[in-house]
Symmetry: none
C-alpha cells in the first residue's frame, strides 16, 4: 500500500482531464503512470471517491467527479449587432437546475419580466440584477425546453 492518497489524487486528475470510458481504460492509464494496482482496487477507489459513470453526448460513458455530474454548459451564440429591437440577451449558461442569462447592462430586469411571463411552466421564477438573470428551472424541465421557450421572444437565441 505504497501510495494510495497519491493514486486517488491522480485518479481525480485523470478523470477531470480526459474521457475515460471504463475501469480497464483508466487502469491502463494509471499503470502507465507507474501505479501498480488491479481493477479490483480501482473499483474500490472509484467507490471511495464517489466518482460516477455518466452517459456522454456521444453515446458512450465517462467518469466524472460527483460535483460535476450535473454541470454541462451549453454555450449559446448571442445575436448580431446592436441595431434593431434587441432584448439585450447575450448568453445563457446552465448549471444544474439553474440558468444564468447575461444581458447588456440594464436589460436584465426587462428581459426577466418577459421570461417570467413566458416561461411560467418551465421555471419557478427569476431574479435579475443589472446585467444578470438567475433562472430557477422547474423540476423535470430540460435545458432544451428552456431554450425552445426562449426562442419565442428572443430571436436568434440559438
Amino acid at each position: 500500500m505504497k501510495n494510495k492518497g497519491n493514486r486517488l489524487q491522480t485518479i481525480k486528475e485523470v478523470i477531470s482531464t480526459v474521457r475515460v470510458g471504463g475501469q480497464e481504460e483508466l487502469l491502463k492509464i494509471l499503470q502507465d503512470r507507474g501505479f501498480e494496482l488491479t481493477q479490483a482496487t480501482l473499483s474500490r477507489d472509484l467507490k471511495q471517491l464517489q466518482i460516477v459513470k455518466i452517459a456522454t453526448a456521444e453515446g458512450g460513458y465517462t467518469y466524472v467527479l460527483p460535483e460535476r455530474a450535473g454541470v454541462q454548459t451549453i454555450q449559446r451564440k448571442h445575436h448580431g449587432a446592436f441595431g434593431g429591437m434587441s432584448t439585450g440577451f447575450i448568453s445563457i449558461e446552465f448549471s444544474g437546475q439553474l440558468a444564468v442569462i447575461k444581458t447588456r447592462p440594464g436589460y436584465a430586469g426587462g428581459l426577466a419580466y418577459d421570461i417570467d411571463n413566458h416561461l411560467h411552466k418551465e421555471t419557478l421564477g427569476t431574479i435579475a440584477g443589472d446585467d444578470t438573470i438567475l433562472l430557477v428551472l422547474r423540476e423535470g424541465v430540460s435545458r432544451e425546453e428552456i431554450t425552445e421557450a426562449l426562442k419565442t421572444f428572443i430571436p436568434n437565441i440559438k
Copy 2:
C-alpha cells in the same frame, strides 16, 4: 412502446425517493408499478436520463439524478469577533454548483460586489440580498478554488 415518457418520469421519481442499489431492484419496483420492461431497457433508460450510481455512506450504492450527485454540504467556520475590519462574512456552504454565503445584515451587497470583481474566473455571477449571497460556480471550478480565491480578500475564511 406504450409509455416511455411516463416510465422515465417514474424512474426519476423512484430514485429521488428511495434508495435503489441496482438495476434489478429498480426493475422490480417499476414492474410492481405496472411497467413492463426488462433490465436491458432500464439500462438504456438510466443512460438516457444520465442517472448515476454513487456510493452511499453505508457502503453500498444508490442511483441519483446527476444534479444531485454533488450535493454534499461543507460547513465552514466563520471567523471570530466583530472587531476590526470586517467583510461581514459569516459562512459559506456549497450545494452542487452553488454556494451560499451568509453575511452580517447589510453586508451581502458589498461583499457580492467584491466577489464579482475577484472571482470572475470562478463564478458565473452572484446575486445578493441583505445577508445572503448566492454564488453560481463556473463549470470545472472546485470548492477549494472558491475558498482559496475568497481568502485573498476575506481573511480568516478558513
